[in-house]
């Protein structure tokens, strides 16, 4: 590799680009045609009944119990049944915990929540698998169980994981300054307890996988998942094969939102296990009920929050205790808690901070990754605190935020200095203007009568890449084929977000100067170099760095070649509109196709990988201080609501979003992400709620009983305000977008309801029942 292919140098060079061919444009996504014609293939579309085994899961009906025995004899008598498989049949390791080694793929010895997998039944006929599953008898010895996280924290007699010795799975902390000093300097102090609830992803496509055994102990797995290389690693561990024997293909996916990052590898491992044990193609597709009972949910939290500010509106100190009900397994809980902990302040300067996080085991479905990853709940608490402070101080909520928002050069609560890419204050100021904040807040604060309007703001930040210096990298393989077409191979998946089918193509096309329509992206495959996961809003921001760097390497080679052919220096070469030419004399050119032909005939390599390892600092867990993220995306949202004070029904009328997320590579796709996230957030706040029975079992695991917003329920969503605060390691300066608009949605909507009712909301969801209660409570206080 020549020194001209150093990734840092290449990134610096392209970051300076001022004019763009395709970047920054609402380029159409490459998959839209297939999808509009109903031709796009998802996992289930590969299922051929009768030609492969169908797998049915047998789930625990007990929240906590020893498994005394499993009697499969009756099930095995059902025609076409291939077998009933349990933990003891696993040839590799029965261990799939992501953060802590606490989670079996199939329950072993005991079950820890109702809905846990106990056995897999495989049969040639779909209906026979179901019939046989019903006949698997499991003998349980019920154990005492614990459902409430506060109770679980205290109890030593009921332990979800006996070997841990406590129900506290994980602890986190941040310490900055001296909060005693901070509170003593505070003229006003507000203290509240917040509660947030679970949310189901309700991706339209449930979890599914098809495992195909091949000769030589190899397996191909077609599976839903958000990280093909992680799917492969988990499959390899469970079936006991080297990773290189396993090929994973993630086809089009019907939504992920984080849920398939957790459950994807598990569904693949289950199908792969059966394929390995039977030697037959094996297919598993969760029903909606199974999906909702089993897959991890958005964290349910209890957050105790104390904030102090001086009379001039400057935040002085915060003390926060965050409790996550992690359920039966920690899954990604520690990572989620960590993110919540370092984001606890909101995007503000806080000189003194003490934050403690607790991840608590209970005998319920476990919590996991969901768009926002621990952040929507803590930003809701932080932003409700800001509104409470504003009220006490007599300062407008937006003004109070502007006084405290992070600006370049400021320190976060972990002591990390943010020197660049901090556009949040600008975004908030612009947002207040377009939403006509000042006039509305005045008008609505004094509203009365049955139907009351309210307006609220939520401002949030979200660290890009993995937390606290955990290694993160990007990669991709970019090839220019002999005919001049370009193939990009990436591990980033296509789950609706559109990064491989839009931004990746734009970046490759922009840098190579190749026309957009010659660029094809092969996504979601272990055939590509490990690109990391499609999560944490990193599909473009980190995921596409690989494409950016690989394409830049090839461009260097093309410029050099073209300069030799045209008799000039590489810097003089421009490539666009299907040709390479002299910047000073466009008449002197060589066509794109000719140029590539020349490369092949002169021994210039036309493939490159784009490995980039993100430079990061370290976090000191003991001190609760240090490096958290390479950069933050910022997002703000204003929501306008109408509350029927007689029925408690809240309607979100309008939402104004604002993003400071670096370069916007494709504004059309970004808007799609913002709009979708806003409505998902609104559903979470107003409508979506699991109902658990006294054994911690979900009573509404289907779409009749758990509801999500329809087209008629969705609010009007205004065009986002963009502040392009460039991030030096992002492709052309891009930061993350996918999760952003969901993060401030609970805060913005809850604060708007607070504004309408004149009482601070501290608990979600804002169902009519809960809002009605809030109104009655307030009226009671008045009387």
């Amino acid at each position: 590799m020549s020194s001209s292919e150093d990734p840092y140098a290449l990134m610096e060079k392209w970051l300076k680009a001022k004019e763009f061919l395709v970047v920054g444009k609402g380029v159409r996504r490459a998959d839209a045609l297939e999808k509009a014609m109903g031709q796009a293939r998802f996992v289930e579309d590969f299922y051929m009944p009768g030609h492969m085994l169908f797998i049915k899961q047998v789930l625990s009906t007990e929240p906590h119990a020893r498994i005394l025995g499993i009697d499969a004899s009756k099930a095995l008598e059902v025609p076409s049944v291939e077998g009933v498989f349990t933990a003891k049949d696993i040839p590799g390791e029965n261990q799939v915990g992501y953060a802590l080694p606490d989670q079996p793929l199939i329950a072993e010895g005991k079950v820890r929540f109702a809905g846990e997998l106990v056995a897999l039944v495989a049969a040639k006929d779909f209906d026979k698998a179901i019939e046989a599953a019903e006949k698997v008898k499991i003998m349980y010895d019920p154990l005492p169980y614990v459902l409430d996280p506060l109770e679980a924290m205290e109890r030593k007699d009921i332990l979800v994981h006996g070997e841990v010795g406590s129900n506290i799975a994980f602890r986190t902390k941040v310490r900055k300054g001296d909060i005693e000093e901070g509170f003593s300097k505070s003229d006003v102090i507000v203290e509240n307890e917040y509660r947030t609830h679970h949310q189901d992803h309700v991706y339209l496509e449930t979890e599914g996988a098809l495992a195909l055994p091949e000769l030589g102990d190899r397996l191909t797995v077609i599976s839903a998942g958000q990280y093909p290389h992680l799917v492969r690693a988990i499959v390899a561990r469970v079936v006991g094969l080297p990773e290189s024997n396993i090929k994973v293909i993630i086809p089009y996916m019907g939504g992920g939102f984080g849920g398939k990052d957790d459950e994807g590898p598990l569904v693949a491992a289950k199908a792969a296990l059966i394929a390995k044990l039977t030697g037959k193609p094996s297919f598993l597709m969760y029903t909606r009920d199974e999906s909702m009972l089993m897959h991890p949910k958005r964290e349910a939290t209890i957050i105790k929050y104390k904030s102090g500010a001086s009379r001039d509106g400057k935040l002085q100190a915060i003390e926060v205790k965050i409790i996550h009900d992690t359920g039966a397994y920690s899954n990604r809980g520690p990572f989620i808690l960590w993110r919540a902990t370092v984001h606890a302040s909101g995007p503000y300067r806080v000189p003194h901070a003490k934050v403690d996080g607790y991840c608590i085991y209970t005998n319920k479905v476990y919590q996991g990754s969901y768009r926002g990853f621990g952040n929507p709940s803590v930003q809701f608490a932080a932003e409700a605190q800001m509104d409470s402070l504003a009220r006490k101080l007599g300062i407008d909520p937006v003004e109070l935020r502007l006084k405290n928002l992070l600006r370049p050069g400021d320190l976060t609560i972990t002591g990390q200095q943010l020197n660049e890419s901090v556009g949040v204050a600008d975004a908030v100021a612009k947002l207040a203007k377009v939403s006509e904040w000042s006039s509305k807040i005045k008008a609505y604060s004094s509203s009365n009568g049955r139907y009351r309007r309210g307006i609220g703001i939520g401002v949030a930040w979200h660290g890009i890449s993995t937390s606290r210096g955990v290694p993160d990298w990007s990669n991709a393989l970019v090839k220019i084929e002999k005919d001049g077409s370009v193939s990009v191979h990436t591990g980033i998946v296509e789950m609706g977000q559109g990064s491989p089918v839009s931004s990746h193509r734009q970046i490759a096309s922009e840098i190579l100067g190749a026309p957009l329509d010659v660029v094809t992206v092969d996504f979601g495959t272990t055939d590509a170099p490990d690109t990391g996961a499609t999560h944490a809003s990193r599909g473009t921001s980190i995921g596409a760095i690989g494409v950016y760097v690989a394409a830049a390497k090839l461009r260097e080679r093309l410029n050099k070649l073209a300069s030799e052919l045209l008799g000039t220096s590489p810097d003089e070469i421009e490539i666009k509109d299907g040709k390479a030419y002299l910047r000073s004399n466009p008449e002197k050119y060589i066509s794109w196709k000719e140029l590539i032909k020349e490369a092949y005939s002169r021994g210039v390599e036309m493939s490159a990988t784009g490995y980039f390892f993100l430079p990061k600092g370290k976090f000191n867990d003991e001190a609760g201080q240090g490096y958290a993220y390479p950069a933050f995306s910022y997002v703000a949202m204003v929501a306008e609501v109408e509350v029927d004070t007689y029925t408690g029904k809240v309607r979100v009328l309008r939402i104004w979003p604002a993003l400071a997320a670096g370069r916007i590579i494709n504004p059309t796709q970004v808007e799609g992400q913002v709009e979708g996230a806003a409505v998902q957030g609104m559903g979470y706040v107003l409508m979506e709620q699991f109902v658990f029975d006294n054994k911690g079992r979900i009573l509404n695991p289907n779409l009749t009983d758990y509801v999500v917003p329809t087209a008629l329920d969705a609010p009007e969503i205004m065009r986002p305000v963009y502040v392009e605060d460039i991030f030096k390691y992002g492709p052309f300066g891009a930061k993350g977008v996918g999760e952003m608009a969901l993060i401030p949605a609970p805060a913005a909507i809850a604060n708007a309801v607070s504004n309408a009712l004149g009482v601070q909301v501290t608990k979600l969801p804002l169902t009519p029942e809960n809002v009605y209660f809030l109104i009655k409570e307030k009226m009671g206080k008045k009387a």
Binding site: A36, G38, F42, M495, L703, A711
Partner: protein, 165 residues
């Protein structure tokens, strides 16, 4: 007990034997290879399995296969003729109404039908008509935009635009 049925599927005659408890969705997807209609909720809440039965949108996951005997069924695969997209399909592509794509066939079938009934719908009428179709990606914004755009295009009588596959 297998029951022979005959029906018109996307303009072509089909004869097939089905079980009484066989669902139209499974017949289409598993026996006839039309995987455009999707299984999502299985209980009539999401609209992803929508097909046209004698021109009216119905849920194929709650329709017995035997029930289409002697009738006409149209799926998403039957809308574009000779690779000529319908105005609604084209508008979905242009207005970025497609994200993950799982709900897309159901929405396109619905809006296609809506515009036949009501060539000039208001935004409220569109939302009302498609409220039985769930989308978890788009927030419905661009789906509604696509419907409005397709309506406008159809009114301009340029319903069929050739797009090369």
């Amino acid at each position: 007990m297998k029951i022979p049925i005959h029906f018109i599927l996307n303009g072509e005659e089909v004869s097939v034997e089905v079980e009484p408890n066989e669902l139209l969705l499974n017949l289409l997807r598993e026996k006839l290879g039309l995987t455009g209609p999707k299984y999502v909720c299985g209980i009539g809440e999401c609209g992803a399995c929508t097909v046209l039965l004698d021109g009216e949108p119905v849920l194929s996951c709650l329709t017995l296969a035997v029930d289409v005997d002697g009738h006409e069924v149209t799926t998403i695969e039957g809308l574009a003729k000779d690779n000529e997209l319908t105005a609604v399909q084209k508008a979905f592509i242009e207005e970025a109404a497609v994200q993950c794509g799982y709900c897309t066939p159901g929405f396109i079938i619905m809006i296609d039908k809506l515009l036949k009934e009501n060539p000039n719908p208001t935004e409220e009428e569109i939302r009302e008509y498609i409220r039985g179709n769930l989308c978890r990606c788009t927030g419905y914004v661009n789906i509604v935009k696509a419907a409005l755009k397709a309506a406008e295009e159809l009114r301009k009588n340029t319903s069929l635009i050739k797009i090369k596959k």
